[in-house]
Amino acid sequence: MRRLFNFHGGVKPPTHKTESNREPIAAAPLFAEYVVPLHQSIGGTPQPLVKAGDLVLKGQRIGEADGNMSSAVHAPTSGVVKAVEMRTAAHSSGLSTLSVVIEADGRDQWCELKPLDWRSLPPAQVREHLQNAGVVGLGGAVFPSHLKVNPGKQGHLDTLVINGAECEPFITCDDMQMRERGDTVVKGAAILRDLTQARQVLIGIENNKPEAIAAMKATVKALGVERIEIVPIPTRYPAGGAKQLIRVLTGIEVPHGHRSTDYGVQCFNSGTAAAIYDALELGKPLISRIVTVAGNVDKPRNYEVLFGTAMKDMIALVGPKPDADRVIMGGPMMGYRMPNDAVPVVKATNCILVGSAALFPPPPPEMPCIRCGECAKACPADLAPFELYWFSKAKIFGKAQEYHLFDCIECGCCAFVCPSRIPLVDYYRFAKSEIWARERDNSAADTARRRYEFRLEREEREKREKAAKLAAKAAETKAKLAAAEAAAASGDTTAPTPPPGADDAKKALIAAAMAKAQAQKAAAAPANTAALTAEQQAQVKEIEARRAEVEAAVAQAAKTAKPEAKPDAE
């Protein structure tokens, strides 16, 4: 029996898992329209590769990763691109984001799938393939996986942790995937074990999922994979947090400012492991995931859903109750309220939670903090939530950062236990986004300062260069003057002997320059009449005389015509 460790704090909210894990995973039907946002992972927004009117096949890349910290996006089904436009994002802000709207043609035809011979290729190429396949962490943080498939500084990992804890209430997508499709999870874990050269793989599953634990154990035995162990862990929220699960399984507590790979540990979600198997062995890009649709509905269930499916289409399948009034992406503890039910399912959507005033009653009025310390007891990140609350509320962000605000995982334990019902996480989210905005402003100001100073320096340099050029020219002139003077002094009789003095020498120079200019002017004058024979010159003269005559006649005619024209005008 493996020795397990304990993490600080945590809570035990009602799990609500049995509602949705009784039915097997169903495939969502094909819908008419898919709205695929390009920005679905942490990092840069992918560049669209298609435009309106293009035909796309299922699995075809429609968004190319923008930089290393980004991941590609693919068409969920075959059809026609209706538009590449701004559509409301699956984000609490209700703002829109660049999305590819695909009208399904109903054939659901795959593009050509290219499995990768990952065993014989260098790791960099495998990572590139994962990036192009759009594989990101499916636990909810959507961190690009290709950046995590990395043996770390030592060149190999000690322990690879596969996160099947799924601690958040209502959500059962990982549970059902491990029960029904455990083989892909285990095979994916084996691939990750080899890619990261991990000594052992621990798949942590909360012990409130006995079916999943049994199924996974049977799968590991049946597949005969080595160095992979299924470890049941005690059920306590948030055991599924990466740092918490690492702590429970290995006893390692990753300090502030460090990465788990510094200690030879890396953590992947179980769904991500399956996605990595699909991407490498089958060549399938990430275009769908298992989503729990639960909450205030008649038949909560797990579905395999293509990205871009409208949430309301999924909710319609499970029969929302009449008092359903809100949609939450994720669970009740960490989920985000959606602006409306038409937003698409994205890579981060592990659960569509339908809420109502009865299921999630509005919080009672916020009372003053009494410094009871319950939040500090519950905090799994070993923070002092009440201090963070004070500083966030008073907008003293520097102090909040000193108290390690950014180590907060927003799990909601503190707000869950708070006797004053303070929405603590809301304050932390507010403080975090304010700090990020300030950092953006500061870095923009720094860039502007650098560029402004460079510009000043450049202007200064240009001025210096110009001055140097002028000085060089002046020196040249002076040398010429000196030469002229020397010539005068030696008694040159051809030039009118100027008395020694700069003024006269200057005058001579000016006169010489003017003469030169005149000569140039003369040379530049039109020369087609210069070299004519006498005969031609006579002809020219004759023509000139005739022209003068005609002109005089015209002038005469105008004079006589004027008085005649006048009465007409009157």
């Binding site: 994002a89 984000h91 916020e366």
Partner: protein, 185 residues
Amino acid sequence: MLEALIVMALGAVILGGALGYASIRFKVEGDPLVEKIDAILPQTQCGQCGFPGCKPYAEAIAKGEAEINQCPPGGDDGVHKLADLLGREFKPLSGEHGIEKPKSIAFIDEQTCIGCTLCIQACPVDAIVGAAKQMHTIVATQCTGCELCLPPCPVNCISMVPIAESVETWKWKYPVFELKTRQAA
């Protein structure tokens, strides 16, 4: 008596020498106060304060030649920060130097641009690219929104576009508890 005087004089000489040496050895380059003030200013380099850039304004504040409320892009928030740093009273933004506007960046209408390069010369952060008789454009990520390119443009083809909030730059709002009035029975 004489001994005491000698001891005191010697002490004064030694301490004076030590202080003199320290002032040379540990000399602080530049004025740290100016750097601190400059760090608060938004670096728009717009000159609305009446100085030819943020650094000169920071120097003027440090010398006490300028008020702290002359920077419209910094806004009231910036004035608060300066007041905190300098231990002065907060003053609302002075109207004569301009008003606080939403953060914008310049945009060149490329159909109208005649390629005169006047705006390029005016831009304090070299955020405009183009050449004589070639169309110009703004490098959006580097534009500080100083509006200095607007007056020199002979064809008025530059406009200021407010920066729209995006999913990436959206900020969580300060939590407020909604007070509900009881409905009439």
